[in-house]
């Protein structure tokens, strides 16, 4: 403060500021470079998917080769006649239905763990989480044998049930954290105004947790859509999902780089859309609601 009065002493503080600005610019450049490095594989996948097979397989790479939709046409069966649509639809069915089932089971459970908690609710919550830590692969064989016994192999409902159990703990944790944010005062006020339980839930709690429900569904959708191990072991031709189609696609067709990239783009598209839509709630979902 006094320094402004004395001319010689104003100069030194100015230098660090300029220095800080230069470091600031440098850090900005570094941040951009890192961001670009991380997205290059995605951009490369996109670019390759739009090249012809001959242009895709050159060294050095031909970046400015003419664009074409050949790869996509091939993926959708232009040459082989095998269409990916059944497997894409299976993935969609399994993801959407399991997500719906998860919500139906998770929201009441989360209610019983937050707004009107049962006794020892933390223990219950941690039981849910502990099932998430059991390695999927250890349950693979018994699930296979049981499914074989009751004739559910290669049936999309088997995947729906498994994906529901896979995502249920995540959804319970997430929904609990969203419901815990609903202030008690609001519920009390609704009760004083004579709202019944169902009406309170529908008109007061519902709208408040709607963004949370949306984020939870998107994350469950992503995890179901991505799943490979169960789908690979438990389905064959009928209930095959998109990731399984993707793996079998490469082995049976040999290597067609542009087609493989086109396939990867198409299969990833729903996840990209869901992920960007849930971007703000992504952290909260991935940290099981531990981070606000």
């Amino acid at each position: 403060m006094t320094a402004t009065l004395e001319a010689p002493r104003t100069a030194p503080p100015a230098a660090p500021v300029r220095h800080r600005n230069r470091t600031g610019t440098l850090l900005t450049v570094v941040a951009w470079v890192v961001g670009v490095l991380f997205i290059i594989p995605v951009l490369w996948m996109l670019l390759t998917s739009l090249h012809s097979e001959t242009d895709a397989a050159t060294n050095p790479p031909s970046i400015f080769a003419p664009l074409t939709l050949e790869g996509y046409a091939n993926f959708f069966g232009a040459q082989t006649g095998t269409s990916p649509w059944p497997s894409l639809l299976n993935s969609l069915t399994a993801s959407v239905l399991s997500t719906a089932l998860v919500l139906v089971l998770a929201i009441p459970a989360a209610y019983a763990l937050s707004i009107r908690p049962v006794r020892k609710w933390t223990d219950v919550l941690f039981f849910f989480l502990s099932t998430k830590m059991l390695p999927v692969v250890a349950g693979l064989l018994p699930v296979y044998l049981i499914a074989q016994q009751i004739g559910l192999l290669d049936n999309i409902w088997l995947l729906i049930i498994l994906y529901t159990s896979m995502n249920l703990p995540i959804a319970v944790w997430m929904m609990r954290s969203f419901l815990a944010e609903v202030p008690v005062e609001v519920l009390e006020a609704a009760a004083i105004d004579g709202c019944g339980l169902m009406r309170t839930l529908r008109t007061v709690v519902g709208p408040m947790i709607l963004p949370g429900i949306a984020a939870t569904s998107l994350i469950c959708f992503i995890f179901s859509w991505n799943e490979l191990l169960f789908a690979r072991v438990l389905t064959a031709t009928v209930a095959q999902t998109a990731p399984v189609f993707l793996t079998s696609f490469v082995t049976s067709q040999g290597l067609f780089l542009a087609t493989v990239c086109a396939a990867s783009v198409v299969v990833s598209l729903p996840v990209l859309i869901a992920g960007f839509a849930a971007q703000d709630k992504l952290v909260q979902g991935l940290s099981l609601g531990a981070i606000k």
Binding site: G24, L27, T28, A31, W32, V34, G35, F38, P41, V42, W44, A57, T58, N59, P60, P61, L105, P108, A109, A112, L113, P117, V118, T122, M133, L134, P135, V137, A138, G139, L140, L141, P142, L145, I161, L162, S165, L168, N226, L228, L229, V233, P243, L246, L255, L257, C261, A263, S264, S268, V271, L272, G275, Q279, V283, S287, L288, A290, I291, K292
Partner: protein
């Protein structure tokens, strides 16, 4: 106290102890009811199979020899634990998990620090950073294997040709460094995840305290070392824990990039193979039981971490 009140509450108000208890019990059940469907569903779908695994792990059961099915005692466990393949795959799993989690945690921390300041295009860079996490894991593995690592026309060797001309080294990435190739592709997918968690931690740090430290003349490094890092500790732990849960179980990348060859078979892949190719049910189950026991040990530690985080939230 009750004696003083008794005259006021008339006989009509008084409930017998049995009635009160019945009411409380009914209340408890009303509280539990919404929880039960989810709980029962989860117990049936996730716990029941493990009971079956446990039973089969003590059986001699190979689908190729159905007649020889019978009780095997601890034979399967002895075979699993003395088998070189299993031991190798346990070591591979540890190597894979530790390196992916550590590297992506450190990178995630550095990038989160870069993104924790206002600059032009911060939102764009953040979106670019998140994108790798939103590529379907199988698709990502395929793209890394074929479009990036391929020795003849992958992008990496293409870039080498650009830089060094026709005599550029053209390594076969996947066969010369198979595990590293898998680790790098997984780090690429998981760094965004760590970054998101750590960034959330950075943005929740107490600004007033840091402001005070700045006024007191603390250097940026001092603030980072003694204030930011301790504050981030629980976020780093959470990232490491969740990352480990998912990467220990990784199947997609190992299956796609190397098909478990060249010493990259981790436990999930080995069990998948024992079951899928060798059809040795007894042994696959025993391996599964071993994995579960190992996981329970790690998970107990992990759950303690989460619950400490959780208690803090409750205390707030």
């Amino acid at each position: 106290m009750t004696t003083a009140l008794e005259p006021r509450t008339g006989p009509a108000w008084r409930r017998s102890p049995e009635e009160t208890q019945a009411l409380r019990r009914a209340g408890n059940w009303a509280r539990r009811a919404p929880l039960l469907p989810a709980l029962i569903f989860l117990i049936i779908v996730t716990q029941l199979p493990f009971v079956v695994t446990l039973i089969i792990s003590f059986m001699n059961w190979n689908a190729y020899y159905p007649d020889e099915r019978g009780f095997a005692g601890i034979d399967n466990f002895r075979r699993v634990l003395t088998d070189v393949n299993t031991r190798d795959s346990i070591i591979t799993t540890i190597k894979l998990t530790v390196s992916v989690v550590l590297v992506s945690l450190v990178l995630g921390l550095l990038i989160a620090l870069l993104l924790d300041r206002a600059f032009r295009g911060r939102g764009v860079v953040r979106t670019m950073m998140i994108t790798p996490f939103l590529i379907v894991p199988v698709a990502a593995a395929l793209v890394w294997k074929h479009a990036l690592y391929n020795p003849e026309y992958g992008l990496f060797n293409g870039v080498l040709t650009w830089i060094f001309g026709q005599n550029a080294p053209q390594p076969d990435w996947v066969s010369t460094m198979p595990l590293t190739a898998i680790v790098v592709s997984l780090v690429w997918q998981w760094t965004p995840f760590m970054m998101l968690i750590i960034l959330a931690g950075l943005q929740s740090k107490p600004l007033d305290v840091i402001e005070a430290a700045k006024i007191d003349g603390c250097s940026g490094w001092q603030i980072f070392r003694h204030m930011t890092l301790p504050h981030l500790r629980q976020y780093l732990e959470l990232g490491a824990l969740l990352g480990s849960i998912y990467i220990v179980q990784n199947f997609d990348a190992v299956f796609t990039i190397t098909s478990g060859g060249l010493g990259t078979a981790n436990l999930p892949y080995t069990i998948y193979q024992t079951f899928y190719n060798a059809q040795d049910y007894g042994r696959a189950s025993a391996a599964g039981v071993v994995v579960v026991i190992g996981t329970i040990l790690i998970a107990t530690l992990a759950l303690r971490t989460v619950s400490s985080l959780f208690r803090e939230e409750g205390a707030r």
